[in-house]
């Protein structure tokens, strides 16, 4: 069954890049100010964990931006979202005076997780659609009257202008 992807391949890649930069920015924040974040969430003992998550965010961000196929890295983000969700959920206990902030953080994580899943699926669907499209056959489009082997050197009659010649010293040795 062919089903059209919800957004074009180009848009899916743009969204992926956006998520990559978001990862890096969030990761940098988590690495730079884990204590402030932990305080805000009322989870003081989680400072090191937050810094660790920061490193994870940066790594996935770089992966998304550097890979020729960002899809696996976007799925890695989804995995990270699950971890974030679990960690935050623990902060929802009634004893936490900062429950409000935790709620906001959870809502944000869920929204971004939704985007991550949407992006990963769009990338996959576009790939599938591209794979299904019959490939145009250009294997006989040489532009020549004869096969390449017969055309090799057909223009050796051409005199390379003086300004574009290789200096003698740089020519193959012995000169042929």
């Amino acid at each position: 069954m062919t089903c059209a992807a919800p957004i074009s391949a180009g848009s899916a890649e743009t969204l992926a890049r956006g998520l990559g930069w978001f990862s890096i920015a969030l990761g940098a924040l988590e690495l730079a100010a884990p204590r402030t974040l932990a305080d805000t969430l009322g989870m003081k003992d989680r400072e090191h964990l937050i810094a660790g998550y920061g490193a994870r965010e940066i790594a996935t961000g770089v992966g998304i931006l550097a890979a020729s196929d960002p899809a696996p890295w976007i799925w890695a983000r989804v995995g990270g979202d699950v971890l974030d969700f679990g960690t935050l959920a623990a902060g929802l206990s009634t004893e936490n005076p900062r429950r409000g902030s935790v709620f906001v953080a959870l809502a944000t994580v869920m929204t971004v997780a939704g985007l991550d899943v949407f992006c990963a699926q769009s990338l996959a669907m576009n790939r599938r659609v591209a794979g299904q499209r019959p490939r145009q056959d250009y294997s006989r489009r040489s532009g020549w009257p004869q096969p390449p082997a017969a055309m090799r050197g057909a223009a050796r009659d051409f005199d390379v202008p003086r300004d574009m010649r290789t200096p003698d010293a740089l020519r193959p040795y012995p000169p042929n």
Partner: protein
């Protein structure tokens, strides 16, 4: 008349605009019968080249029929069929006399602005930013051709539009890219980019007698077409370009390298691609020179780099140490189209090559805006689009 008009990044529309008129005595007005979208147009579409203004008419690959000539244009007459090179040339200045047409000293009417940006102004170009004169382009029903007596190439009967259209840009561009390599029968020529320019560079390198031609890209249809022209291909998504090139040259590296990609080089699985995207995003770098880096690194010492791929501004992390210590030579520039047209027209007439092999899409002008996207995204097997106004 109708024309494809630039309104901003990713915003090209088919608008109705005023017809052009003769302005200078050497002008001609050409009624366009066929025109094409070039990889260079994509740099404008994607907003990478500075100097475009809302309302500029796009296009620099076109041909047609002369419908009006200025009073001092004695070479052309009404009814002549011509291909118009994308470089506007006076034919009389020092550079034109030496055959360096793309740096004609007189045809750029925005000389002062260009002097500031590049140190010296280069030739006027059709439909290609105000840095090169801001001349209305050829993706239109009619075009004013300045100094038409110097540049327009008259087409003899018996050849179709599609056979000769590319004499105005991509065929001479691929040809000059190969000629600049001064190919020896023992040479391996590696060509980055199997777009239209790359395809003609491949054909030219084979015709000029290279021992081995290697084409690098990642679009399967383009690699198929490259193989049809006699190239060995490397898909950079699937294999390491540097390793394969070394393997194909017994560790020595290709003698000649051609960059037919330019400033929008695609990210490959490499850290430098990421670095370029980051710097471009914060505007510390304008171009993505991944291909230049690869060429400098892999080219055989004392070899030649030929760069038809277009760059616009500032490049970063160029391994100039490798370039200098290996004693490489680099030749580059917009193509001196008129230097090659007579010879290439003869080769087409003699049947040595039929440039229409590269055309994959034929549409009317109204469908042009959509085709920019199809061509940019390499959808639907798109390699070269011809528009019929």
């Amino acid at each position: 008349m109708r024309a494809l008009v630039w309104h901003g990044k990713h915003d090209i529309r088919c608008d109705t605009v005023p017809d052009p008129a003769i302005e200078q005595p050497r002008d001609a007005i050409v009624k366009v019968t066929a025109c094409a979208i070039c990889g260079s147009d994509l740099h404008l579409y994607d907003g990478f080249m500075p100097g475009m203004k809302n309302g500029d008419i796009m296009g620099h690959e076109f041909m047609g029929e002369v419908v009006e000539v200025g009073s001092e244009n004695h070479r052309l007459k009404k009814g002549d069929r011509v291909v118009v090179p994308f470089t506007i040339i006076c034919g009389e200045c020092d550079q034109c006399k030496r055959g360096y047409f793309s740096v004609c000293e007189r045809s750029n009417r925005n000389k002062e602005m260009a002097d500031k940006v590049f140190g010296h102004a280069t030739a006027g170009l059709f439909g290609y930013t105000h840095l090169t004169g801001g001349y209305p382009g050829g993706q239109a029903e009619y075009v004013r051709v300045p100094c038409a007596d110097a540049s327009a190439v008259k087409i003899p009967d018996g050849l179709t539009d599609e056979q000769v259209l590319f004499l105005g840009d991509i065929f001479p561009t691929g040809w000059q890219a190969a000629v600049q390599c001064d190919i020896e029968p023992t040479d391996t020529v590696a060509i980055w980019g199997a777009g239209p320019v790359g395809q003609f560079a491949i054909r030219s390198a084979v015709l000029l007698g290279a021992k081995q031609v290697v084409a690098i890209d990642h679009v399967p249809e383009r690699l198929d077409m490259a193989r049809a022209g006699g190239a060995i291909t490397i898909n950079f998504d699937e294999e390491s370009v540097l390793e394969r090139l070394k393997e194909l040259t017994h560790g020595k590296g290709p003698e000649k390298c051609i960059d037919a990609v330019g400033l929008e080089a695609h990210a490959t699985r490499s850290i430098d691609s990421l670095y370029d995207r980051a710097k471009q995003a914060v505007m510390l770098e304008t171009d993505r020179p991944h291909v230049l880096r690869e060429m400098m690194y892999v080219c055989r010492p004392a070899g030649t780099l030929s760069v038809p791929g277009v760059y616009g501004g500032l490049l970063d992390k160029i391994p100039f140490g490798a370039f200098m210590n290996k004693g490489l030579t680099m030749r580059t520039g917009q193509t001196h189209v008129n230097r090659w047209t007579d010879d290439l027209l003869r080769r087409i007439q003699e049947g040595q090559i039929d440039p229409s092999f590269v055309i994959t899409h034929r549409v009317g002008l109204e469908e042009g805006p959509g085709m920019y996207k199809t061509f940019r995204d390499k959808q639907d097997g798109c390699i070269k689009v011809v528009l019929r106004p």
